[in-house]
């Protein structure tokens, strides 16, 4: 046996290569790359064959419609990576939309109303986070409950009426494009948040702890990761970003209603999963999720323009989701087989690996 050198300044006993695969393979052979490739193919095929797909209006309307999903998908990605889920996001959009409307109607300056709405979203997220991390309830159950609760409050506050009178300055601003492009201005807000979330997830110790929590909560806790605190922060973030999406939703449609964005949570979660985030936690990346949202949105938009009915579009989107889940399982199975084969080979060589 070789001498174990753990003394200070010992010669390195051996060196390791950082990666098993070359850079191009790591960049190109993963789920995120596959989703991005699929997105590019869908865009390419649509440009070539769907009339009007290349018109600036198509781009503007598509991104406008996708903006709330894109925004909420950011914190949702982090939450699902920690093996939790937040189903209440669409209800928070509804609630904060109503809050924005009521406060504006009551004569509050719009920016203040919007800020309060975002704050209400954060409080809603705090409530979720409290129940999940302090009381210790499963997030699936908690947020199914608050999905109904927040929606109930939203509808209760405003009844079946809608508030449609908002300052023109703000509604125009929300609908404004980046000058000289067909891209809505809200994409700047999204880009800033996306970069912030991507840095948080991929380049900070906090982000590392999220992956560790999702893969093995217990080992994370044994390594000094504050598991509860991390999840709590994510639920608050999710509420606040949903609040922001609620304000945007209100402005873009000039409409504050209790039932705004009903069912949006499923679009968000579907896109996040399609984008390569594992529902079992621990895997996923922001760029994949963005591609996932854009893929579902672009495909739907192109098919609509091509005259395909919405029920068929739903079927296609559903099949795509199922396939993405199946492909994950298949890849996992193939990987296990490969590892088992490796183990058998080592066994034949008759030595400990």
């Amino acid at each position: 046996m070789s001498e174990t050198a753990v003394s200070a300044g010992a010669r390195p006993a051996r060196t390791y290569r950082d990666h098993a695969h070359p850079l191009w393979r790591r960049i190109l052979v993963n789920r995120e790359a596959a989703v991005i490739a699929l997105l590019l193919i869908v865009i390419g095929v649509s440009l070539a064959s769907v009339p009007n797909f290349d018109s600036p209006l198509t781009v503007t309307f598509l991104l406008r419609e996708l903006a709330p999903i894109l925004l909420i998908a950011l914190p949702m990605t982090l939450i699902i990576i920690t093996e939790e889920i937040d189903l209440s996001v669409a209800s928070v959009v509804g609630l904060t939309s109503v809050v924005t409307g009521i406060l504006t109607q009551a004569g509050w300056p719009f920016p203040v109303a919007a800020l309060v709405a975002i704050l209400v979203g954060a409080v809603a997220g705090t409530f979720n986070g409290f129940l999940v991390t302090v009381v210790g309830l499963p997030s699936l159950a908690v947020t199914i409950g608050t999905l109904a609760l927040f929606r109930g409050i939203a509808v209760g506050l405003l009844g079946t009426t809608a508030i449609t009178d908002f300052p023109e300055f703000w509604t125009d601003l929300a609908r404004e494009n980046i000058p000289g492009t067909p891209i809505p201005g809200v994409m700047i807000v999204f880009a800033v948040l996306a970069i912030a979330f991507a840095v948080l997830l991929h380049l900070t110790p906090f982000g590392r702890s999220l992956y560790a929590i999702g893969l093995n909560k217990e080992a994370a806790a044994f390594s000094g990761v504050a598991v509860g605190r991390a999840k709590f922060i994510l639920f608050v973030l999710s509420g606040a970003v949903s609040g922001l999406a609620g304000v945007y939703f209100t402005l873009i449609y000039s409409n504050a209603r209790g039932d705004n964005a009903t069912g949006l949570e499923l679009s968000v979660i579907a896109a996040v999963l399609l984008g390569g985030v594992s529902i079992f936690g621990g895997r996923g990346a922001i760029h994949g999720v963005i591609a996932g949202v854009l893929l579902i949105g672009t495909l739907g938009s192109a098919l609509r323009l091509a005259g395909v009915t919405s029920d068929v579009i739903n079927v296609i989107t559903g099949v795509l989701l199922v396939l993405s889940v199946v492909s994950t399982s298949f890849l996992g199975w193939a990987r296990n087989r490969r590892l088992a084969a490796l183990g058998r080979r080592r066994n034949r060589e008759g030595r400990a690996p």
């Binding site: 390195p12 006993a13 051996r14 098993a20 000094g224 590892l339 183990g343 400990a352």
Partner: protein, 508 residues
Amino acid sequence: MDAERFPPDAPPALELEKVVKSFGPVVALRSGTLTLRQGSIHALIGENGAGKSTLVKIIAGLYRRDAGEFRLRGEPVDFTSTAQSKAAGIAVIYQEPTLFPDLSVTENIFMGRQLTKRFGQIDRKAMREEARAIFARLGVRLDPDRLTEGLSIADQQIIEIAKAISLDARVLIMDEPTAALSGVEVDRLFAVARSLRDEGRALLFISHRFDEVFALCDTVTVMRDGSYISTTPIAETTIEELVRQMVGRDVADLFPKLEAEIGEEILTVQGLTRAGLFSDISFSVRSGEILGLAGLVGAGRSEVVRAVFGVDPYDSGTVRLEGRPLPKGDPRTAMRRGLALVPEDRRKQGLVLDSSVARNITLAIRSGLTRAGLLTTGAENRSAQVWASRLEVKTAFLDAEAGTLSGGNQQKVVLGKWLATEPKVLIVDEPTRGIDVGTKSEVHRLLSELAQRGLAIIMISSELPEVLGMADRVLVMREGRITGEFDRGAATPEAVMFAATHEPEPVR
């Protein structure tokens, strides 16, 4: 053994030949061979990680073998579930039985196959009578009507055995049944085992205790590193011979204890209590000292160190590190102040198996690797490079998933993760469980060297030779209390075992 009633030319009750089992890249069983005969008590010995449990789980139908022969009374079998194994007449009695505490003794014995009357009603009377008859046959006194809750582990094992008898199991496997038993209880268990042997059943007895093996068994099979080593009649071998076969080298080599200068008291624990788990635990450890924590499985040792580190709560008591109190339930502060815990369950608590070697090594120090608040893979890899090479982790790539490494290398990753935090006190809980002999000795050498360099080390181990070989001082725990403290010179196997299994002396 009665050779006339059970002729040796009859097919063996159970036969395994060159059985192989691997989990992913980790080979748990390289070549398992075992022959059990009727009317015989067969011992299976080997160090932790020798593959005994894997072998038992294959017999029990919990795992399916990858290759090799498995025959029952000469017939090839291939179990895909525990139900099939049970139906074939195999019963496994585990160290800690899993019974239904809210059901009666009788109900537990007949769980899942209750005796019924003509119209399908459960026949309580018949079941009670049969339970009584079995207990009488075993010569034990147990009320069939009492709830299982609160029964000692010994009594729970008797219930498992009664269950096996009521099923008329021909092969009984006992996986370290005596680990948590007192002397009297062991005697009773042995009497029961002998009477089962005389009824012509085949018994497999797994134990770490040589005295028990020699007292009870007639044949012994040794395993090492997942492979069959030898099978010998017990009368033709000695403890020394068996130990040599188990470890494959001289024992002296295994525990390279270095002289270390013992300095200041660093960690002091006073009156630590958590209801139901441990009470009034007080001890301290000095720099350069290796404090061994011995005791039987379930004595509360892991619970104590987890509470000290802060991942578990405690009710009362204090923990001081370098004189200053350590807050309760706060592993982050404990880490920052220089406490490190290598936990008992490497795969569940020590590692994020699906994460890379580099990420695992840097998980506990990730905040210290940032520049301007940002943490890059490059910084992680540079740090991981240092620790992986110091511990000689055998992997080609830092981004290999920790789960693909062998047990011993996984343990090195966990050790590396904690050494990277540059602790003052290192707590290791079963540091060499389930790792190969070579790596084991590397870990021992490492711990010795660390102590020499002034680290205070607390080592929990259920392997007595390891504790006695490594520790400067040994604390013994039994049922949540400290029942003995020995200096290196005074710590004999007998003294430690006695403290681990008996009430403390009234005056001490």
